[in-house]
Symmetry: C2
Subunit: 212 residues, 2 copies
């Protein structure tokens, strides 16, 4: 909410898409203020203003029921073997330092171990899967996750068709930007305005709204 008010000051009419480590907020801002009547998280989930998908902590099986392995769809395991942090680390869109929670297997948050965790999603290991096989899994999860965020963006666009800009922020701003671009929105990175502190948008917003 603090982020939404800050963004409303900077860009009075836009769709704020804030992808954090765990959840995504998709908040229409009209005339400088959040345009929502939601009061609870249940309201927000139902209205698509809260999407329970994030850049680090979301288990792969909560995003994609199947992933491709050498061109064939394989149903995923459901053990939390890999998180979205592993997907985005593998693809190079997050750095190890961004992986803000313990990894599922307790091993380091490096690209190499992320690949091992992604292989386990289909009950495989790196002796069975080449780099390109792991990339196919990671890309499929990226696609599914971007699609979920995109669907929430489309819902808000349906309600507020005049909005033409998306302000994207959070650790997963890269996902927000990809989804918003696909929806035909002009993408503004909050970080470009506020600096890199916007990767942790709520804290930055509070700091700007309540300067010490």
């Amino acid at each position: 909410a603090a982020t939404a008010r800050l963004v409303g000051r900077l860009i009075p009419d836009c769709l704020l898409v804030d992808v954090g480590s765990t959840t995504t907020d998709v908040i229409p801002i009209v005339g400088g203020a959040p345009a929502t009547t939601s009061r609870t998280d249940l309201d927000r989930l139902r209205e698509g203003e809260l999407v329970y998908t994030g850049a680090v902590r979301t288990p792969v099986e909560a995003i994609a029921p199947t992933v491709p392995v050498r061109g064939r769809a394989v149903a995923v395991s459901a053990e939390g073997f890999a998180l979205t942090g592993d997907v985005h680390l593998w693809r190079g869109e997050l750095e190890p330092a961004d992986y803000s929670v313990p990894t599922p297997d307790g091993r380091p948050a490096t690209r190499s171990f992320a690949g091992e965790r992604l292989a386990r999603v289909v009950c495989a290991d790196r002796e069975m899967l080449e780099d390109r096989d792991v990339s196919a899994i990671a890309d499929a999860v990226w696609e599914a996750q971007t699609g979920r965020i995109g669907a929430a963006i489309e819902r808000q666009r349906g309600r507020h068709p005049a909005l033409s800009r998306a302000v994207v922020t959070g650790l997963g701003a890269f996902l927000a930007g990809a989804a918003a671009t696909r929806s035909g929105l002009q993408v503004v990175h909050l970080a470009d305005t506020l600096g890199s502190a916007a990767r942790h948008a709520p804290a930055a917003a509070v700091a700007l709204l309540f300067p010490s």
Copy 2:
């Protein structure tokens, strides 16, 4: 595999559907032997002989992307707030003693607490949701889980159209039976032949194959 060999002795041509706490095996048995060339779990996942869905341990978000709340689809959270054990406990198809793992919130495996965990799936609590609302969530997950098992059954039926019987077993035999019935298969409960030990089928099979 021990279960499949045992079932093959009893019913030489059938589809074995064994729903455990965590995973489901769907194994065609032809002429008394398992008819599969799968060697690894990746093979089995790809062929639909292994479905990573079980009667107790599967997180709700690994099964259903949305559940209905008062008639509207609500996207689920992805925190492991509730497991299939909570779904089947709520619906009365499992007993508290069947809940063989710690609950997500560390509270007891009773129907009442299962209801609280299911409410959290949509970021709600029992002050916000009536019993019938919780039932709608549980029923939707049951439906989605049965559908996944059913899809795996259909794949095997496509390969072995002569099979007309399903032998169902495991803690989640009730799910296997529902899915097999929908597929038009005659359902045989292994427990009816072996007694209640079949609820833990592998152990029972080993005991019968290698009597001491």
